[in-house]
């Protein structure tokens, strides 16, 4: 029983990790007023870059490459949606399609295989000495891939940035009421650029966690819709870091539970319903059935400075 619980929570944590990271990225972007549905595509490109970085150099250079490339792609989204004021959904969709194409193309070009990359070195696991010996908790938190710890730490850091620093206040203000923020001298355009580029950092990291954290290779389309589930986690978590984390953990738990239920032959709930859980919960959150979930007031609206 205890072993089952440990395994269940351990799987939950690993399934939730890429979701937490990508959801944090989405949160920064939307808090500043820019919708970023390109998380899915940036994750995929991040996953590829991390694998390639590990193949040619080392795993951690791969991780670094993933966040840098993630930020560059996000900067393109920022340019199109903030400066050119184009439709943010269209720009995001374009990036998602581009990501599937470019990763498939480079996979074939560099590795001569259209389906998957060769195995590369992964980032390994981190062991936490004292925690490791505690029952259950030790099994869950004692030894995991580094991204698990990084994601949890980044939740706390993001909370601090967003709610405890003047910088976070500025991000929130340009997303709620850009005109008012502008009138007190905040650079709306600049803040939005920074927030969107930050989202690329997180989504790139999420991608790296998939390819060289949880696995040790890149597989075509391996993000497999996680960028969109991360957006759902962000919405369900009401655009807060801790909320997004809890939502991602809940989604991860639903996954882990259905895996265990199937394996031990418990079919009291059809697994299709457990697979649907993230989406149903998000719809319920959006429709106000479970609490109220209000997006930042200026989310998705390009800012046009009024001429004096």
């Amino acid at each position: 029983m205890l072993a089952n619980l440990t395994a269940l929570l351990s799987t939950t944590l690993r399934m939730a990790t890429p979701l937490i990271l990508a959801a944090l990225g989405g949160m920064f972007s939307e808090r500043s007023g820019v919708i970023n549905i390109a998380l899915e595509g940036i994750m995929l490109i991040g996953a590829f870059t991390a694998m390639a970085g590990s193949y040619f150099f080392s795993p951690w250079i791969g991780v670094l490459g993933a966040v840098i490339v993630g930020m560059i792609i996000a900067a393109a989204h920022a340019l199109v949606s903030i400066s050119f004021r184009a439709d943010q959904i269209v720009s995001g969709t374009a990036i998602n399609i581009f990501a599937a194409g470019i990763t498939g193309f480079l996979l074939r070009l560099i590795f001569g295989d259209a389906g998957q990359s060769p195995s590369v070195q992964d980032v390994g696991t981190w062991k936490i000495p004292f925690i490791k010996n505690i029952p259950v908790i030790g099994g869950v938190f004692g030894e995991q891939i580094p991204f698990v710890y990084i994601a949890l730490i980044l939740v706390a850091v993001s909370y601090w940035i967003l709610f405890k620093t003047p910088f976070g206040l500025r991000i929130r203000s340009v997303g709620e009421h850009p005109a008012a923020a502008d009138s007190v001298g905040i650079n709306v355009i600049g803040m939005r650029y920074i927030a969107v580029i930050m989202s690329g950092f997180f989504a790139g990291l999420a991608g790296a966690s998939l390819s060289i954290g949880l696995l040790d290779l890149f597989v075509k389309n391996m993000s497999s819709g996680r960028g969109f589930i991360a957006l759902a986690a962000m919405i369900f978590g009401r655009w807060t870091p801790h909320g997004a984390m809890l939502a991602a953990l809940l989604f991860g738990f639903a996954d882990a539970l259905q895996m265990l239920a199937q394996t031990i032959g418990l079919t009291f709930v059809p697994r299709q319903f457990l697979l649907m859980a993230p989406y149903i919960l998000t719809i319920l959150a959006l429709t106000g059935v479970i609490g109220r979930s209000t997006p930042p007031a200026a989310d998705g609206e390009p800012y046009i400075k009024e001429e004096v």
């Binding site: 597989v219 389309n221 895996m259 265990l260 199937q262 394996t263």
Partner: protein, 327 residues
């Protein structure tokens, strides 16, 4: 300027299309193949079908070509495109082609069509289906004899009747040689999610399984990685998958899509094209089992048992169930 950019677009598109084409020698017979969304490099039935075409090209000097589909909406235009260009035979690889194939085949009655894993009616269509349950039975025999915990696992992709054939055969094979063994059965609900495959495999290994068979596309890469991490065993599917983790992949169930495609092209080449359903099983090398690379991984008695059951299935002495309901 506009003309120039139009030219550039057309040129680029052509380059892309041609880039994925194979150079064929100019001969009478032209055979085209359209992949499903898995595309070439899936290490599964798309690659296998393409090997069949390539072999036919070597042996009969025919001209071959392939178009890769990006989305399911590409199927109809891609099939039509070959038919329009005067190809003699066009293959659609995978059951996802069922509707598109039915539509296009009736529009081009003079062109011969072939589909894998599904049945499409028509005087000009050959449907190649496989007895995956027979091959899965044989790897079930291996798993049933190799397990030390008396617990084995099966991980499927999407729970369609096709993927259930693998489940039914595997479970029957395990039971045949080891009636006390347990088989955990679970589906990932996807074919492209290695993380889900890996976590599901961990879940089954945690419950005591020591051999897991998968029929879950790219999810299986995760299953095999999990086997390696735990030091336990996995069984591959469709193509030999030992190279993903040489010491941890006991064997693989092989689906010879290439043999089926080659065979049907040969019939056309010989002027004996036959429309209708062609079933490929153990008896005509449509499915089979891949001998493990490492000699000592599977004991000789296991290999003998596999051969014994193979004979029994071919002779009809053992009938393998094709759906879990028949177990």
């Amino acid at each position: 300027m506009k003309k120039l950019s139009l030219f550039v677009i057309v040129a680029l598109t052509l380059t892309l299309v041609m880039g994925f084409s194979a150079a064929g020698t100019a001969q009478d017979l032209k055979v085209g193949m359209v992949t499903d969304v898995g595309g070439l490099g899936d290490e599964s039935f798309n690659d296998s079908a393409w090997r069949g075409l390539q072999r036919a090209q070597e042996d009969f000097g025919i001209e071959i070509n392939v178009i890769e589909s990006n989305t399911m909406t590409d199927y109809t235009p891609n099939l039509s495109s070959f038919a329009e260009q005067g190809y003699d035979m066009v293959w659609g690889v995978g059951f996802l082609f069922t509707d598109a194939m039915g539509e296009v085949a009736s529009m081009y009655p003079d062109v011969k069509f072939g589909i894998i894993d599904a049945v499409v009616e028509g005087p000009n269509v050959v449907s190649a289906t496989f007895k995956e349950h027979e091959g899965s039975f044989l790897v079930g025999v291996v798993a049933g004899m190799a397990t030390e915990t008396n617990k084995t696992g099966y991980i499927g992709g999407m729970e369609t009747s096709l993927i259930q054939k693998f489940e039914a055969g595997f479970r029957a094979g395990v039971k045949a040689v080891n009636p006390d063994a347990e088989v955990f059965v679970a589906y990932t609900g996807a074919f492209d999610d290695p993380q889900a495959g890996k976590e599901l495999a961990f879940t089954q290994y945690d419950q005591g399984a020591d051999v897991i068979y998968h029929a879950s596309g790219a999810c299986g890469i995760g299953v095999i990685k999990a086997a390696k991490e735990r030091g336990l065993y996995a069984i591959g599917v469709d193509s030999p998958q030992y190279h993903l983790a040489p010491a941890y992949v006991l064997t693989s169930m092989i689906k010879r899509v290439d043999n089926a495609v080659y065979n049907e092209i040969k019939k056309l080449y010989d002027g004996n094209f036959e429309a209708g359903v062609q079933v490929y099983g153990l008896d005509n090398n449509g499915v089979g089992i891949y001998r493990p690379q490492a000699e000592n991984m599977v004991a000789q008695e296991v290999i003998d048992k596999v051969d014994e059951y193979k004979e029994k299935i071919i002779s009809g002495e053992v009938v393998v169930p094709s759906s879990p309901d028949e177990l």
